[in-house]
Symmetry: C2
Subunit: 159 residues, 2 copies
DNA sequence: CCCTTTTGGTAGCATGTTGCAACCGTTGCA
DNA sequence: TGCAACGGTTGCAACATGCTACCAAAAGGG
């Protein structure tokens, strides 16, 4: 078989996250969910995605516990898709991608949709990676420990 | 045509980021690059990805300015792939995905690779979304300012 | 009620992409 | 010099994606 490679058994949390989200459409669905979209048609119009794709993605997101299918809030017989707590926890991921995109793929002054503080209407502060005691960390200030507790704490990754 | 949909002209920075990265393999390549991988073979062994796929991904990452191909640091005739500043700026994205994965896809105590502060060997602080003046923000505390829509992607059945 | 429109999907097809295995020129090294 | 490792390329089969057509149930208007 030539199925797409899965990462759900990887020991790397990044890989499992990536696997759980599924594909880029899913991430844009989540983005729209943060922005208030709830109905099938809302996602479809906002994204311009084919309906069969949207159906499949919503289904996997629900199965993965990122979205939840609930009765429509307006009393109609339709259903709505809302973020679960697990889905809401993707907020920093979306914000990080948004900030990276803003900084790297828009000309100065080029208009783009912008995520702002609701209270003051200002742009958000750039995300900062910090140590447990609050120091700002660059990539070089960090390292990856494989299997933290029960095995030899190796610092290098040689299999 | 039935090419995969591109988002590089979207007005949403998240969509452009997603488009620039390309696919999940690319993100895992970047993750490995943060972890010190530089050589074709290192990525290939670490990821278990087919070589043709890896070739294509490295090429698009270089073309997109995320990686850079430089002469090997050990003096050999081979080349190495290193993160550009633009690639290093993906650090918060990777960290956000890692933290989401750690919290949601591992049983308590289940071993997994862990990103730690190099100086103290401790786990990192969870990423926090903050306003310009430093208040912590939840998704509900933010809103998206849309820009004038220049192009609406629609899928219509009717003429 | 009856008719029309909207909503939320399925089904089928063409094409693109992925994964695998085989192959191949270069480079490194003993 | 010989041989293994490196860094790819090529070809193929299976799968995923996108598009269009189609459809049933639910709203909505008169």
């Amino acid at each position: 078989m030539v199925t797409r490679t899965r990462f759900d058994d990887s020991d790397c949390p990044v890989a499992r996250s990536v696997d759980a989200i599924g594909d880029w459409w899913s991430l844009l669905i989540v983005r729209d969910a943060f922005d208030g979209s709830r109905r099938f048609g809302e996602f479809q119009r906002s994204l311009g995605v084919a309906k069969n794709i949207l159906t499949a993605r919503l289904r996997t997101l629900v199965a993965g516990g990122v979205l939840e299918s609930v009765p429509a809030s307006d009393g109609s017989a339709y259903r709505e898709y809302v973020l679960t707590p697990k889905g809401e926890a993707l907020f920093p991921v979306i914000v990080a991608l948004r900030q990276w995109g803003e900084e790297n793929f828009f000309a100065p002054g080029e208009p783009h949709s912008q995520l702002v503080d609701r209270r003051q209407g200002h742009r958000l502060r750039a995300l900062e990676v910090r140590s447990a005691d609050g120091r700002r960390l660059n990539p070089d200030d960090t390292t990856v420990h494989k299997t933290p507790v029960h095995k030899t704490p190796t610092q290098r990754s040689e299999p």
